[in-house]
C-alpha cells in the first residue's frame, strides 16, 4: 500500500517561508541488485514528485535510483494565500499517489 507523509504547517503568515517535508513509503529498487541466484531485480522507483500550490507548480523533483528507500524530500515555499498544497508522486509500474495538505494564510 502506498503510504505517504507530508509535514507542512497548518497556518502561516503571508510572505513567510514555510518548510515542507515529504516522505513516501517505497522500496526504490535500483535495478542493480541481484537475487541469490544471480538474476537482476528489475528497477522499481519513484521518478517524480510535483508540488502545486492552488494549482500552480511550485516545486518539482526528478528522482533516480540513487535516492534512498522511502524517499524524503524537504523544500520550502512562500505562503502566499490560503488554499491547498497538492503533492503528486509518479513512478515505475504505474505508481501514482496524490496527497494534499491545506494551509491557512493570515
Amino acid at each position: 500500500m502506498a503510504r505517504v507523509v507530508i509535514n507542512a504547517p497548518k497556518s502561516a503568515k503571508r510572505g513567510e517561508v514555510i518548510e515542507i517535508k515529504t516522505l513516501a513509503g517505497h522500496a526504490m529498487e535500483t535495478g542493480f541488485r541481484r537475487t541469490q541466484t544471480g538474476e537482476l531485480i528489475p528497477r522499481d522507483i519513484i521518478t517524480q514528485l510535483v508540488c502545486t500550490y492552488n494549482g500552480i507548480e511550485v516545486f518539482r523533483a526528478e528522482l533516480h535510483p540513487a535516492m534512498a528507500a522511502n524517499p524524503l524530500i524537504a523544500f520550502s515555499t512562500l505562503a502566499t494565500e490560503s488554499g491547498t498544497l497538492e503533492f503528486k508522486w509518479t513512478g515505475d509500474n504505474g505508481y501514482a499517489v496524490t496527497q494534499s495538505a491545506s494551509i491557512t494564510v493570515v
Binding site: 542493480f32 511550485v58 518539482r60 523533483a61 540513487a66 535516492m67 520550502s76
Partner: protein
C-alpha cells in the same frame, strides 16, 4: 533444508555475479568518471560551472551508504529577477551519477533542499545549481563510505 539442486543453483548464481564484477573491473574507474562528465554536461548543456554560492552538506564519514542525509543550499535572494532554477546532485562512484534534480523558482522563498541518497563508494558528491541568469555554480564534497549501498551485487 537446502537441497543439492538449490545449493548448485545458488553457487552458479554467485559465480555468475563474480564473473560480471571481474569483467567490469579494469575500466570501471574510467567509465564512472566519463559517466560523471557526461552527466555534468547534460545538466549544464556544456556551459562552464564555477565553484561557489552553493553549499552541499553531507557527513564526511558515512557509516551506511544506503541512507545518506544531504542538504543543498544556494546563496540567492530568490526574487523573480534573480533566483535559483534548478539544483542537481550527482555522485562519482554510483552505477549512475544522478541522484536528484530539483526544479524551483522564486516562489520557493529560500533556495534549498534536503533529501537522503544512496552512495555506493567513497568518492565525490557534487551539487550543481542553475541560476536564473543562466550561470552554473557547484560545490563538491568528498565522502568516505564504510558500508556501501548495492554491496550485495559486488558491482560497487
Amino acid at each position: 533444508m537446502t537441497s543439492r539442486r538449490r545449493f548448485l543453483a545458488l553457487i552458479s548464481g554467485a559465480l555468475a555475479a563474480g564473473e560480471v564484477a571481474a569483467q567490469l573491473d579494469p575500466n570501471i574507474q574510467a567509465l564512472r568518471a566519463a559517466a560523471l562528465e557526461a552527466a555534468i554536461r547534460r545538466v549544464t548543456g556544456g556551459k562552464p560551472v564555477r565553484a561557489g554560492k552553493v553549499k552541499l552538506e553531507v557527513p564526511p564519514l558515512v557509516d551506511n551508504g544506503n541512507t545518506v542525509p544531504l542538504s543543498v543550499s544556494v546563496e540567492s535572494p530568490m526574487t523573480s529577477a534573480e533566483h535559483v532554477k534548478a539544483i542537481h546532485v550527482l555522485t562519482e562512484k554510483n552505477p549512475q551519477p544522478y541522484v536528484i534534480s530539483a526544479y524551483l523558482g522564486p516562489r520557493a522563498g529560500r533556495a534549498g533542499i534536503a533529501t537522503r541518497a544512496r552512495i555506493a563508494d567513497s568518492g565525490r558528491v557534487i551539487a550543481i545549481a542553475r541560476l536564473s541568469d543562466g550561470s552554473f555554480w557547484s560545490d563538491t564534497v568528498s565522502v568516505v563510505v564504510t558500508l556501501s549501498a548495492c554491496l550485495e551485487d559486488g558491482l560497487i
